[in-house]
């Protein structure tokens, strides 16, 4: 029975593959919603539920954080996903941005 040959590892190749994978899955961007005086609190809760699929309790928690502390970090995601969420939130006219998580 023939043995399965061990894959040959070339110097440097492991690191480059690892780097590529990490940058793809590394959730390094924050989706932030900022307070403003114009959006109704009830509306903000409604939008969080629609965009993130959260239950009422979780959506209310983040809405109150926005209201009382001026902002709330809604998600920590890869760049692509964070951009998607910011687009969605802005389509509902919420003041949302993405920032690098240092």
């Amino acid at each position: 029975m023939a043995e399965i040959a061990e894959p040959q590892v070339l110097p440097g190749s492991v690191e480059s593959v690892k780097d590529k994978t990490d940058s793809k899955i590394d959730p390094g961007y924050l989706v932030i919603c900022w307070n403003d005086p114009v959006n109704y609190m009830e509306y903000v809760t409604h939008v969080f539920q629609r965009v993130f699929g959260w239950n009422r309790q979780k959506a209310d928690f983040h809405m109150l954080e926005v209201h009382e502390q001026g902002k709330s970090v809604l998600a920590r995601e890869s760049l692509e996903k964070a951009e998607h969420y910011v687009h969605q939130l802005q389509k509902f006219s919420l003041h949302a941005t993405l920032e690098r998580d240092e």
């Binding site: 961007y29 005086p37 959006n39 109704y40 009830e42 409604h46 951009e83 006219s93």
Partner: protein, 153 residues
């Protein structure tokens, strides 16, 4: 504006003729939020920030065009408004209510920006801001009623 019934996926509101007229006219202002209002990031932290901002601008423009068209169809639907004595019945599905909230909020936010984004609401009316305040409050009136209906048990 009063919620008359909410069954399955359908909401029926009772409006006065004056409210119907206000709703149709305020919706005619969509879109009102200026495109430059939407910024992807506060500190340009993304790689290729100009390209990323351009993508957001395109997504918003696409949504506005789609919503404007959908709004015309929404208002022209033969079943949208019907008479019940002196009242007007305003019928919409829950997904349509979601859509209308998005549109009304754009109008509310856009009119708020047009009067200088005041921190204190409602601001003291002046000749310069009275139109913007009125639009903001009318959009907010309908928005509040729809939100209350969607969250009522």
């Amino acid at each position: 504006m009063k919620l008359r019934t909410r069954q399955n996926d359908e909401l029926i509101f009772e409006l006065t003729e004056r409210e119907r007229s206000c709703l149709v006219n305020v919706l005619g202002l969509y879109p009102l939020t200026p495109p430059a209002h939407y910024q992807l990031s506060r500190n340009q932290c993304v790689p290729e920030p100009e390209e990323a901002q351009k993508l957001l601008d395109e997504a918003m423009a696409e949504q506005r065009a789609g919503h404007r068209k959908a709004l015309d169809e929404f208002l022209n639907s033969s079943t949208r408004f019907s008479r019940a004595g002196r009242k007007v019945l305003f019928t919409l599905s829950e997904p349509e209510a979601d859509f209308l909230l998005q549109v009304l909020n754009d109008i509310r936010v856009g009119s708020w920006i047009s009067i200088g984004s005041p921190v204190e609401l409602p601001p003291i009316p002046t000749q310069g801001n009275i139109r913007g305040i009125s639009i903001m409050e009318i959009a907010g009136f309908f928005e509040g009623n729809i939100l209350a209906a969607l969250t009522s048990d």
